[in-house]
């Protein structure tokens, strides 16, 4: 304080920019001793040359720290965004698609057995398409799983089970064609058991693990502590830059040290750019979660549950005698489905879709109840007709309506996730190297700004 006050009278003096030191007196002037100015931060640093060196070092150190922190922040967010976009999200989507293909194959095969000895061509085609899709997706998903040993082990399980499953269904089909109806039903029940006790749980495991991985990625992609730390260091840097210029202005009677002033502006630009970009990116990541991965999970789970409900009804009619638990499963599935649909929220178009899903799910559950009551009162042929008929009020039509709507929801959510994450990625595209470049220039300017002052003391 003592030094600054002592210089107050000449602080307003104007000096040519970048010119030689105006007065040697400044340099030669006796500086206050640490004892005489215990409260001055700059003064506490001792002699002017020492102060200059410490200031220059501090500023360059802070610039380096800011740069490293900023680049690390951007890199961390980018790697999280990239991980979410390129690995985790595709794995989740693949797992869901495999789950749906397998569930649909299971429901379709049960349905075609319900139809009787001659397998309907349309159901046969659908079953083949489902297994082909599951098989193809498994191959790509196993590759995408890469280092995730849990995911690849689970996909491996499904991959080894799938040929066994299709073999059992084919055996059931052959038995059915020869009129060995109970044997056909037994093979189908075995296939279904393999699907439900081993294959679908494996896919669900991937889905659960990678979904939480996605949430983690999304959290990391919009993680704030590193950004806040960077911002804090940046503020300290700005403060020190301003304080340095004020002190130098007074000490050397220069109103403006242009290199330092430009460096200050650059740091300010970096600060504004950095915070605006990160805020925009975080918003995009948030919307990727709220209108992307969250509804994606809801719609997919609902889709899987709806398919399971349909298969439960078909298998009850086919093999209830041996496995009476299908209806227990059906009621818990229906419960989960309703709970899931009750939590639906989000954008207006999504709500509209959810409303449609609720209506169609209610229709499916109504026909499910009708099938149950018809079957319980012993009118099996009528129950079978409801469960396998081609009418618009029968289970297959209502179930596929619901499935199509849920599939639309899945597609939309997937697109929304993709575009939001792409936007989040774009928000950071130039920020990393841009920040590094600007701060490097600022560092050079600081060095350049200090050089003449320090030179005066040689």
């Amino acid at each position: 304080m003592a030094v600054l006050e002592e210089q107050e009278g000449i602080a307003g003096g104007v000096a040519p920019i970048g010119g030689p030191p105006a007065a040697v007196t400044g340099a030669a002037a006796p500086v206050s001793t640490p004892a005489s100015a215990p409260t001055s931060r700059l003064g506490a640093l001792g002699s002017t040359p020492r102060r200059l060196r410490v200031l220059a070092g501090s500023l360059l150190g802070l610039l380096l720290l800011t740069g490293v922190l900023a680049v690390t922040t951007v890199a961390a967010r980018q790697s999280a965004t990239t991980a979410a976009r390129q690995r985790t999200a595709p794995l989740v989507v693949d797992a869901q698609a495999i789950d749906i293909a397998l569930s649909d194959a299971d429901a379709t095969s049960a349905g075609s057995f319900l139809e009787g000895r001659i397998e309907p061509a349309a159901l046969r085609t659908e079953y083949l398409a489902d297994t082909a899709r599951a098989s193809a997706m498994l191959a790509s998903a196993e590759q995408a799983a890469g280092s995730s040993s849990e995911a690849s082990a689970a996909f491996q399980t499904v991959a080894t089970d799938l040929p066994i499953y299709t073999g059992l269904v084919a055996t059931a089909s052959a038995a059915e064609r020869q009129g060995s109806y109970p044997l056909a039903a037994a093979y189908l029940a075995e296939a279904n058991n393999l699907m439900r006790s081993d294959m679908l749980p494996a896919v669900t495991r991937v889905y659960t693990v990678e979904s939480s991985g996605l949430t983690t990625d999304e959290g990391r992609a919009s993680g704030s502590w590193l950004a806040v730390l960077t911002g804090g260091v940046l503020l300290v840097l700005l403060g020190l830059l301003v304080a340095t210029q004020v002190w130098m202005g007074r000490r050397f009677r220069r109103s403006l040290n242009v290199p330092l002033a430009v460096a200050t502006v650059l740091v300010l630009v970096v600060g504004v750019w950095f915070s605006l970009s990160l805020a925009a990116q975080a918003t995009h990541v948030d919307s990727a979660g709220s209108s992307g991965s969250a509804p994606l999970a809801t719609f997919t789970q609902a889709r899987i549950l709806a398919l399971e409900l349909r298969a439960d009804d078909e298998l009850t009619l086919l093999t209830r005698d041996s496995v009476p638990s299908y209806q227990q499963d059906a009621s818990s599935v229906a419960l989960s489905l309703n709970r899931l649909l009750a939590t639906g929220n989000g954008t207006a178009s999504e709500q509209m879709l959810t409303g449609q899903v609720r209506r169609e799910a209610a229709a499916v559950q109504a026909v499910h109840d009708r099938i149950r009551s018809t079957d319980r009162s012993g009118r099996l042929p009528s129950a079978v007709a409801l469960a396998s008929g081609a009418g618009s009020e029968d289970l297959p039509a209502l179930s596929s309506n619901l499935d199509a709507t849920l599939a639309t929801g899945v597609d939309r959510a997937q697109q929304s996730f993709g575009s939001s994450m792409a936007a989040a990625d774009a928000d950071l595209s130039a920020l990393g190297w841009g920040t590094a470049l600007l701060l490097s220039v600022a560092a050079a300017l600081v060095a350049f700004g200090f050089r003449p002052r320090i030179a005066e003391y040689r």
Partner: protein, 336 residues
Amino acid sequence: MRPLATGSRRPVAVAVVMLLATLAAACSSAPSSAPVAVTTPDVVPAGAHVVHPTPPSPNQTCGDPTASLAPPATMPTPGAMPAGSRMAQIQARGYLLAGVDQNTYLWGYRDPVTGGFSGFDIDMVRQVSQAIFGSPDKVIYVVVPNADRVQAVQDGEVDLVAETMTINCQREQSVDFSTVYYVAGQQILVPVNSPIAGPADLGGKRVCATEGSTSLQNLVGTAVARGVQVWAVPNETDCLVMLQQGQIDAISTDDAILQGLRAQDPNTKIVGATFTNEPYGMAISKAHPELTSFVNGVLAAERSDGTWARIYADNLGPYVPGPNPTPPPATYRGSP
């Protein structure tokens, strides 16, 4: 003192290098794949499991459990059931509720051609419908799991159960049985190329039976001595699936059921003599003795007028070798 001006440039260079290095580091990460061990899955039917041998429980005794109520002196005409009787209530309802199986080939199963129910048990039920309504088709079939048969009759969920159900003392305590309409016995089904020729060859082999069946109890009782590995499955057809998949060596249950399994797989054979006696009867609630008596009247008529022989010829004739048997005789213990 070392000139500061040159020293101050170094941090700039260091800063730039470090910033670039950080940027570069942020851009590279290579995934690596770990080899995954493959295990061959052993797929068995749902609920299949090995049963550990337990000593046989002592059989309950109750005299002759197959002795049933005598038929009424004169059978009522179809469509004119005596007032106040259970049959009259059924007639008023318009249909008979029958508990059956839908997966036991030749006995109670859904015919893939007609979509309806077929089998020996089903024909027994149709005769009862014929006697009440004058039409064999006034039946609503309720598929009842084997383990729930007694309960379904006790709860009145069905009027009767016709489901390859062995009459025994334990069940007799809870429900009434009609007279015997078929006598089965436990036998063994093996692949045609199997060396197993009878119960004596089962030592050290894997044998399958239906969960909760008397066949399973018989096997488990003898398993201690013979070292038989006994598999229990929810449905007898699951045994055939396991046999075809090479997971068991033999199936042991009622010959009646084995004939249905063999009919579905010509590469199997039934070996050895029957080693148990399993008289089948229809289970009816103890609350309606007049219905049991009425059903016994229906069965008596079937025995004498050749209906039983026709039903046997229709359902079992093509699949059971040897001449068609005569119907099992009825034994009665009194009138309601």
